[in-house]
Point group: C2
Chain length 347, copies 2
DNA sequence: TGTCCCATCCAAAGCGGTTTGAAACCGATT
DNA sequence: AATCGGTTTCAAACCGCTTTGGATGGGACA
């Protein structure tokens, strides 16, 4: 059932039917009702392919997912972001198209989506320091929103981000207040902007208390369980091991916990751990009592907000760059406690 | 730059240019080369919106993601499947459109995607027992592939699935061979087909050795860390606790591990754990030595295979239902060992 | 009664490709 | 020179919708 057939059945022109369905004023209310009723009765749905061609709009938002070789973006965090964004899209009648491409083709993917007219806007994931994609997107000329920020870029752009620096600053201060002075950082990859900011918060807090940073207590790797395990393990095996750890994610934290428990230590007593909790639906930080003390900020909510921002930009491209900073909460769980007294009693 | 402009520049008709670019035989080779060169030079990309309308095909595959209220599908396993499938799509010039909808609208979402012509085929996720979506999809009339199977459905359909029953049968036998007789099952939700099959494998293996099943040793819940923790904890606190556990996923297993370690036990010595490992990119089961003994089958690979199967079906709809059964490997890790001698010597 | 203005509806021209049916061209054959 | 078959090209219709630019008709007003 298409527009023409429906119009014929009603004894009206396609023009009028189209207008009636799309709420244009120049159609008699009784006619509109008749059209609406007939549309429902015949289960008419306008063909999106035709709408897209006719309007020149795609009613779709693109997400490019680079694959594998450089680093892996398809992680649980990404999944939750997508879920949040997708929710917003479908509520607004937009499709979400994911383009999974080998990362050497990433630039082409953005250009292609634009040139072939498959999307009206895009979300940029996992921005790096000086991320070249910001310039690329300006060149491409499609509205876009970055999930995160790209330090070093001087071009304007819209973003939604967590205040990563402040989150890790506060987490570090919290540990310092508990008497910890040897604090290890199990960070994400530090070519990623968020990881740089987190480190800056960590370093800043230490500096403010006059504690000099120790490179042996700072690691940077993928946010996987295994990487967290490895990094934590290395630090714990130092002659002068940390009494507290800061981990980049729930998953890193689980790895760290494995390393801790493997060494017969107990979290919250022998060693304190704070993680950043993205509030993933499948990886909740415990139930009533949080497992980990954590800086928490829902990445799903970030997805929703980024999508809303982007749709607004798509609807009104004259709107200038928008920004939205989310603050992480500091949630106290069972994984932190006062710094243990040194093993060799000092008095 | 569109087709008409390009044709004008070349002094050719749009027809010829279109044919030249699409490899039709009725165009002079020298003309084709001239056209190809010009297309590249002017960076011409055909507008997908127009192609879609003209050909009546969407060049896109749909995935419907029901949201939240019933159960949560947006999990790391899903993410990896999507990554695998997406890879195949883009290699074949197809888009992947995700439709994230409140689950009470799930049926409408399938119908909508078809009626509005946004996709040429769909993948069905997380099939249930007697899943009504199989009938729905037959009604909708688009090619589709199910990731998993739907026990109880008598309609034909294409699927890609892991041999879940056999995997859990073998895992259970492995534990029995190690002398375990009290084996707990930390299963996924048992309205999901894969969970039913796993239980059937587990029950089957016990039965074959004449061990009567104990309802207290069988749990069914979401595959989250917390749920795994809770289920394992409950079993461990029984007067007659299990000496081994079978967990539904890496994440459930991590929860189980937490419960185990919280009780001062050691995995592989005091209690054996086998998990099902979907070989998730962000949640590898250790490095050289696996953390958990596991039944392993890459869900990402399943995504690739399902996508390939679907594209074949889309290209040739007369092709009958296809099926593909994947066997899980049994990987020996550090989490299993012989059943501990009973605490109170019996003889 | 004739005009004018609205409210309402419609024909037709896009959108940017694909595809059908026919025309133009060319060398070969009679 | 006329005919023919094959190759190459093109004009125009079409996909299913939106949107522009009228047309139509009826009531208000002079």
């Amino acid at each position: 059932m298409n527009l023409k057939e429906l119009a014929a059945k009603l004894g009206l022109s396609p023009t009028t039917v189209s207008r009636a369905l799309n709420g244009y004023p120049e159609v008699n209310e009784s006619t509109r009702e008749r059209v609406m009723a007939a549309a429902k009765r015949h289960n008419y749905r306008p063909n999106t392919r035709a709408i897209r061609l006719a309007t020149g709009r795609a009613f779709a938002i693109g997400h490019v997912i680079p694959l594998a070789t450089r680093h892996e973006i398809v992680n649980p965090i990404f999944a939750d972001f997508i879920a949040g964004a997708g929710e917003t899209y479908s509520r607004n009648g937009y499709d979400m198209v994911l383009s999974v491409v080998p990362d050497e083709n990433e630039d082409d993917a953005y250009r292609d989506l634009k040139a072939r007219g498959s999307v009206d806007g895009m979300i940029l994931h996992a921005p790096l320091m000086n991320d070249p994609r910001i310039a690329l997107m300006h060149d491409v000329g499609l509205p876009f929103v970055v999930h995160g920020r790209a330090t070093g870029t001087d071009l304007p752009y819209s973003w939604v981000d967590v205040n990563n620096r402040r989150a890790f600053l506060r987490a570090t201060e919290f540990l310092l207040d508990l008497g910890h002075t040897r604090i290890g950082l199990v960070n994400g990859l530090e070519h990623m902007d968020f990881a740089i900011r987190r480190r800056s918060g960590y370093v800043g807090a230490l500096g403010a208390r006059g504690i000099t940073q120790d490179p042996a207590l700072m690691s940077s790797d993928e946010m996987t369980e295994v990487a967290g395990y490895r990094a934590a393990g290395r630090m714990l095996d130092l002659p002068d091991p940390p009494t507290a750890l800061l981990a980049a994610s729930m998953i890193s934290g689980m790895g760290a916990r494995r390393a801790v428990e493997e060494r017969g230590m107990e979290m919250g007593r022998d060693i304190s751990i704070i993680i950043h909790d993205d509030d993933l639906s499948y990886m909740k930080n415990g139930e009533d009592v949080p497992i980990f003390t954590a800086t928490r900020s829902s990445v799903r909510e970030a997805g929703r907000l980024a999508a809303e921002m982007l749709l607004a930009l798509v609807q009104d491209p004259t709107m200038g760059p928008q920004t939205r900073m989310l603050e992480a909460e500091l949630i106290i769980g069972q994984s932190t406690g006062p710094a243990p007294k040194p093993a060799i009693p000092k008095g």
